[in-house]
Amino acid sequence: MNTLNTETDMVSITIDNQAYRVSPNENLLQTCLTLGLDLPYFCWHSELGSVGACRQCAVKQYLNDEDKVGRLVMACMTPVCDGMVISMQDTQSRQFRQTNIEAIMTQHPHDCPVCEEGGNCHLQDMTAISGHINRRYTGKKRTHLNQYLGPMLNHEMNRCIGCYRCVRFYRDYCGGDDFNVFGSKSHLYFGRATPGALENSFSGNLAEVCPTGVFTDKPFSEHYIRKWDLQTAPTICPHCSLGCNITVSERERKVRRITNRRHDEINGHFLCNIGLFGYEHVNHSERLDAPLLRNNADKCSAILSTSEAKQHLAKLLSPAIIDNQETALNQQALGKCIAIGSARTQIENNAALMKLVGQDNFYLGVPDLQVQMLHMLCSAYQNNSVSPFSIKQAQACDAALIINEDISHTAPRLALAIRQMSRNLGIDNAAKLGIADWQDGAVRNIAQTTRSPLAIIASDTSQLSSLATEEVIISPDEQVILLEEIQTLLAHRLDEAKNLEETNSLEETKSLDDIETHTNTESYSASARRIVDALLTADAPMVITGLQSQDPALLGASLNIASLLKQLKSHAGFYGVTKQVNDLHFGLLIKDEAAEAKYLGIDSFITRVMGQEGEDSAHKAPDTLIILETDLYRYMEAEQLEAALDAIDNIIVIDHMLTPTAQMADLILPSGSFAESQGCYLSSEGRLQHGFATFSGLNQPMMPWFWLADLTDLHHPAEIHHWLSQHFPILAPIETFSELAHINQGSPFRIAGQPKRASARTAIHAVNDVKEQMPISASGTPFVQSMEGVEGFRQSQVQMITVLPANAWSPKWNSDQGANRFGNMSHSPWTLGITLFSQTSPSSQPACPDEHQSEQENNKNNMPATNASRKETNSSALTSASIRLIPSSNLYTDFELASYSSSIHSMSPEPSLKIHPSLAASLNLIEGEEAQIQAEHSDARLMCTFNQQMSPSVAQVPTRLFTLLGKRAKITPLTLKAKEDCDDPT
């Protein structure tokens, strides 16, 4: 909603006799901060807006140039207007700000030496900026008992300065209800009613939202180090598909903490708990830090040196690669060496591997069905039938329809944006009364429970249910029908619009009655009509869906709805949530030959190895397999997977974790984790972004492409980028990042030759510059050789350095809150990323040209064929009385790498079978007792929990099990008594 201000929109204000041209849409505090003026504040936050509680940002406002008296105003509560005359430096306002902070500090314990916030503390910065030095208060300080708030945050209430930011963030912004402010007067208490883990997925941000050390990062304090002794680099969050920007901090080759890196189009100021705390795999004991050669006979492994490992690799691969090249020359695609690419590694690594084995021997490390759905998304983006929205655009839209995706768990930051989006109508109502959107308290008082249209179609309620203006809880099969109704209605409206156009242009008299007769609205459910009305009343409606339930029919229908909507509303958008940090680019790596796309995923890999049924002996069995950063056990049932792996002579795994798959390898090559690697990721909105390494790898700073470099003849990321843009023109913009990659070659991020710092920061010049002396001059790079990584925010503003700084550090602003200060970020593609699918001309093509139709056919015909590879253990049992399974997503369980973090693992719920009591009754299932699930591909046992809110015709299993089990299952009770009842043949 914030449009860029052109010069004509700007107004003139005077601050301390200096004239400025500024935007009139902001409050005075934000304006001062954007201008680089040091005005202290506590309760304001650029994302949370103004409430005027702390009174720290008082300035003097004069009526005009003649007025010499003026009056104190709170800058955060004062709108900027033309001709405004302000002083920050006059004695009264300076005195007030000093006394204010002195009053705040009467209750603060001054325990900075033992506080994790020390040196990274907004309160320290503001105290210094305000000029308060002497403490005069001699009375007692109040003391509090602290609470246990879970594995992610420490609580030290005595440090509280009562700014209310935590409670405003947690309750108002994130919708949490297990945290509040208690007490009153100077005995405020910010915490929970009773000690316990904070439930909200964004609780970790409290460490940053709190201006002092009440809430601090608990995992960080377990390996604490002062901020100035951390080395930081900008990169991309390695978990879900949204591509949030993060800053990784490292010391002694251990990741110490992750902080938000502001990207206004994506994560803004906040990260989910997974992003903040899901880094422990980097420091984990199961990290692979050296090449291992497995000796089957002795059941032991030998550690290899890098050169030995390379020799082994060449020895294992060479014959197979030669075979691949020969077969390729003979126009026979299939060679002996096959590979599986990774959805969590950087694009460069997959590209190198694909070049090595050839596209026909390259399998994408997700199930075939997921490959197909990724391809559907990419096709729709490429043919411009839907416009992928950024998270910022999602937050600004005025109506949303969420189809069958629990985004609170699969894409938390998007869910947080939708939470804000639902306030837009209330913000508009406030604007009608002349209240600006940054007046947070006032806007909320006016808006009360007013909600923007948000429709949710799902099989169970979710965290967003309370915000929904229309919620339809039905099974996926019923959803298909509802979505068809919505499509028909939209198609009809489109016809009407077109007819109207024709009527107008051709002056033809096609009576409305004719159209009316077609519109048999009675056949559509009331929900469908209400949803369509809400979407069409909006200016910029959007559709959100995802791959959660692995249902191409639903995805196709959602894409069609988004496409129809885009034809009716040119500003309509779409967000398709994919499943992993870098799986969307799989959809672009598909050989889309005229006839039929081939979805080479893990199912196809199994088929290739085990052979199709009835296939003749001419089948050339692959003998060498390279698995790149993929744990196949997450997707395939173990017995079947191991049968396939056993059929292959040589298995090479490149990964940074000792996954169950890596344990099956003959040769394991370590790769860098996200914190040690640089390269590109494609987020689910189609944004190509580059991440830097924070430090070089443990003992082997090896990117996967580097292991393969001799064999692929791609020795540099730039060469890989070039190869990619030659073979996949849609990915050509990746070459924009080649220069960055060049700069960092050899020593990721930090520049070679830089002296190792021996002590803490030299503070002599800290008032002007937080950098140490430049050690060596380096020309032609965007990086500054500095002890602090790249430059702080302020320098980047002044010098317009095009690379986003590694941190938000600038003179006087030592805390992470420095990121709050500046309105506009750099507009370099190096920092913003590149959106691959431009949102220019609206297209009238349907999202999936008859894809929807063909998906359904696929479901009936093709899919079972491709899935033939999967074991159909229970096919006979499933013919009757089978129940549709749906995944129960959980943030803390579903992300492979994040679950290595103990703080995240401990928040995982017990796996259970969630089922509606009525369905449970018909299946003789008892709450709290185990049930046997016989599904398409596998079996499982789970504890039953009842859920009144969900659809009564489906059963929910944890996402990971859902992937292994398949979509249909027979569910029977396991307990003896219930089983007897059930087995009773009569």
């Binding site: 005027g52 204010n100 009467t106 009375g139 009153s184």
Partner: protein, 451 residues
């Protein structure tokens, strides 16, 4: 009925049941309502505006002007709310209690006239939680009204322009915070939220309770409405002796012969109230100073006795008429102790939202305790003065802290000698007089121990 000189209290008789409907009606109660139902809402608002009625809760904002900000007419929101602020918690004020307990019907009638004026159908009485008797009588009065078609659907069975006039009144008995007297904190409390004041704008007249247009006025303000409508704005204006219109319930507490409440014309002199109505100081006590309008107003001295109780007159003397309930400081009570008691109360009642109030007032309390406890230093006086400036109007989120420091800042001005004596002698010359030697030795002993 001839025009009365004591419109608000003429219903309060010796009869045991003067708060009941029959008694109220026998003195002309609900005549105002009957008259109002014959008038258009514009006429009603015009009359209220012309009457120059100013809010009786303490701030003295013109009621007609306040009401004119409420959107009316066809485009206006249909839901609007009227709230009677009966959360009387100002130290020294007990005037609303008298009206609430003795004339509940007068409040109901005022609300009904408000409903007719603004087109509202819901009225709330936000009642101080400790006013049990008032709650009981209000509840009884509401029941009586419902039985007599004075509340509920189609009041009095006579529509206005063919439309039935419906009105309901709900009592909200407060959980008890002084800050709930601040109208936006009161609204937050009614919504079930923390009783912190709201940012203005929007003012409640535009977006108040549940985001809808809302009028919050003091009990006494609402009580004036029936009479203004019944006897006219000219009559009301003529009641006042000075600039301000109408009558006011004044009170006196402290060491006077007859502490109490009296309905007197606006502009009655302070001397008349204290010396005539309250009977003057108790024998053996001299007047040292007084707070003219309750605990959050500046001290005035004997020399100000001839001032008129009028919003602007008292303002010129550097204080406020506030609630019109005078608190007397006599010559034998320690002014520091009195100020400490008041500031401690306000620090206690701070909602904790903004810094000058939440952290500034307890700081002032700690300094006053230090001085009163015989451990003060001269620089403490400077700090107290600085804290008074710190909590000045505009520096804080609402008027609580500026009000809280009013007795303190005026005591520093008028009774500075007392502060200095406390510090010089390291004891309270009033309360420690009998045990000075003992106190001093205790202090000295502590010092030795401490060093």
């Amino acid at each position: 009925m001839t025009s009365p000189l004591n419109p608000l209290t003429r219903f309060i008789t010796d009869k045991a049941n003067c708060w009941q409907l029959s008694e109220y009606q026998s003195h002309g109660g609900y005549d105002g309502l009957t008259r109002a139902m014959e008038m258009s809402s514009d006429e009603l608002l015009g009359t209220i505006k012309q009457s120059n009625l100013r809010g009786r809760g303490g701030a003295g904002f013109p009621t007609g002007l306040k009401w004119s900000f409420v959107p009316r007419g066809a485009d206006a929101p249909t839901e609007k709310y009227l709230i009677v602020n009966a959360d009387e918690m100002e130290p020294g004020a007990f005037k609303d209690r008298w009206l609430l307990e003795q004339t509940p019907h007068q409040i109901i009638e005022g609300l009904l006239i408000g409903g007719l004026t603004l087109g509202a159908t819901q009225g709330y009485i936000f009642l101080r939680g400790d006013y049990y008797l008032a709650e009981e009588r209000l509840q009884q009065a509401i029941e009586e009204c419902k039985r007599h078609q004075l509340l509920g659907r189609d009041i009095l069975g006579r529509g206005i322009q063919g439309q039935a006039f419906n009105f309901d009144i709900h009592i909200h008995s407060s959980a008890g915070r002084y800050i709930c007297g601040e109208e936006t904190a009161l609204i937050n409390a009614m919504e079930g939220k923390r009783a912190t004041p709201r940012a203005k704008p929007p003012f409640p007249q535009v977006a108040g309770l549940w985001g809808k247009p809302t009028i919050v006025n003091n009990v006494e303000t609402f009580c004036n409405l029936p009479h203004i409508i019944n006897f006219g704005s000219d009559w009301f204006k003529a009641l006042g002796k000075g600039q301000d219109a109408g009558t006011k319930i004044f009170g006196v507490s402290g060491r006077v012969k007859r502490p109490g409440l009296w309905e007197l014309p606006m502009g009655t002199s302070i001397r008349e109230i204290i010396e005539h109505h309250a009977g003057g100081m108790c024998d053996g006590y001299r007047l040292k100073g007084f707070l003219p309008g309750g605990g959050s107003t500046d001290f005035l001295l004997e020399e100000h006795l001839d001032a008129l109780m009028d919003y602007d007159e008292i303002g010129k003397l550097g204080s406020r008429m506030g609630t019109g309930t005078i608190i007397i400081l006599d010559d034998q009570y320690c002014p520091i102790s009195m100020v400490l008691n008041l500031v401690r109360f306000f620090a206690q009642e701070s909602c904790g939202w903004c810094t000058p109030c939440r952290d500034g007032l307890p700081w002032a309390v700690s300094l006053l305790e230090k001085i009163e406890g015989g451990q003060g230093e001269l620089k403490d006086i400077e700090q107290l003065e600085e804290l008074c400036d710190f909590a000045a109007p505009g520096n804080t989120f609402c008027a609580l802290a500026p009000g809280a420091v009013e007795p303190l800042q005026s005591a520093l001005k008028y009774f500075r000698q007392d502060f200095e004596t406390h510090i010089k002698h390291q004891c309270c010359p009033y309360h420690d007089a009998l045990t000075t030697a003992e106190t001093l030795s205790k202090i000295n002993a502590n010092r030795v121990e401490g060093t």
